[in-house]
Point group: C2
């Protein structure tokens, strides 16, 4: 029994699904350390055999058989990889069989299908969404706000930019984000360009202590980063969102993924 | 037998893993249409029961039992959700049992673990990488290029920006991207700021016809978008990369995920 194990992610595509999923499952075993090895684009028997050799070598070097998470659509390639001395966790075949039984159809076993096809509307939509979100980052442009599906608002460094990019990259959602700045609080009104779009605004707020930490990394010792200023901006932003009936959440302990999913859920957006 | 089926993604976290994986598997069934329903943050018995009710209602409305992909770490919550009338594909329990047997340890069944924890170095690293990549998009800044792990180069609209953002968001890699422009080709030299960093440059190229299409969407009928100009820029860029010994790939039919994974693979970058 060793406490360091090698984990292979073997896929005929990028292997991103296998690695994302495998990492989540392995995070449940805190007494074991895992070394990740990616083997993407294993889409021929030759490459399958070279993967088997690599897994074997690792088994010998480690003195323990590796763990293999795989997404291999082609049964002949999968069968070849399965010959390697390893614990095989085959995401594809495990779930395809029950789905075939349920749906009454055979799966197409088409390699391209398991992946991110580039010639689909949904792919083009994602790219368009990423470009939109970049062009509308940090209030850069008030043009075409009518096309935004979400407008994130909040004080500087509350998490708007990464959340916007994630929503467009993962879900193909067009997001604008608009900073709330001291001038807006003095005026007591939302920034002019977004007033007409209150129903698609969503606020991000943050604990002032955490905000001060983040801002201090950028501009150490500045008034901008001071805890007094952070407290006052956050409190003014929260009052404004409450007054305007804009839903919001605190990003303090939430990951980008959690914030993005919550925004979709609350605004009932379909991607 | 119906050709429209509802698929639920039930998770005590965001459900992103369940949905990404489930979508890939279902893409293998081209004769069935799937309606997606996300049920994130199902982290209590109450929420499990409300999920069960929603699945039941959908079963009745559809006249067919739904398909449920789930990632539920807590066994009591999972057991409750499994009572719903549905085909249950439980990603978590399916793979945890064989891993427990292999590793000789019980999994921690810790809900937080399955998710994106925000208080880890790797999370902070991702956020820092996203900020870096944004600040170094499109040659905006030549500062701190020494800190970049990859510098993507290529003609305008060859796919540099989405790839940079994806690499930082998914893998926490600091990416700069630098456009190759007609002035660089006249000079016959790489842009000055990146010359010192050739070993971490990676080129993106693209079929001139496809490039002309993309550019025409932005600036219809311009010289910039003309096929002659696209041909000449792409050919000059490829010659320059070859001369400088910079590895490159064509993005024409590749998704962001495929480009990003190939860049990691070729540069042997560890994330």
């Amino acid at each position: 029994m060793t406490s360091l194990r090698t984990v292979f992610f073997v896929s005929d595509g990028t292997g991103i699904t296998a690695e994302t999923f495998g990492s989540s499952v392995m995070a449940q075993f805190d007494s074991v350390k895992f070394r990740h090895r990616r083997l993407p684009f294993v889409d021929s028997i030759d490459k399958a055999e070279s993967a088997v050799r690599e897994i074997h070598q690792q088994a010998q070097a480690d003195g323990a058989r590796p763990i293999v998470f795989s997404t291999l659509v082609n049964p002949a390639i999968a069968e070849r990889v399965h010959r390697a001395q390893a614990l095989h966790l085959d995401l594809f075949s495990t779930f395809v069989a029950p789905l075939e039984a349920e749906l009454g159809f055979k799966s197409s076993h088409a390699i391209g299908r398991f992946h991110h096809a580039t010639d689909t509307d949904s792919y083009r939509n994602r790219i368009e969404a990423i470009n939109f979100s970049l062009a509308h980052d940090d209030g850069q442009s008030a043009k075409n706000l009518v096309d935004a599906q979400v407008i994130l608002i909040g004080v500087s460094r509350s998490g708007k930019t990464p959340t916007s990019l994630y929503l467009s990259m993962q879900y193909g959602i067009k997001v604008a984000n608009y900073p709330l700045i001291p001038e807006d609080f003095e005026r007591g009104q939302l920034p002019e360009p977004i007033r007409a779009f209150k129903s698609k605004c969503f606020g991000l707020t943050i604990d002032p202590m955490r905000l001060a930490d983040i801002r201090n990394e950028r501009r150490p010792g500045s008034r901008y980063a001071s805890i007094e200023n952070c407290r006052s901006e956050v409190s003014a932003a929260e009052s404004m969102m409450q007054r305007e009936g804009i839903r919001w959440l605190s990003t303090t302990t939430k990951s980008i993924e959690e914030i993005a999913t919550t925004v979709l859920d609350v605004l009932r957006l379909e991607s």
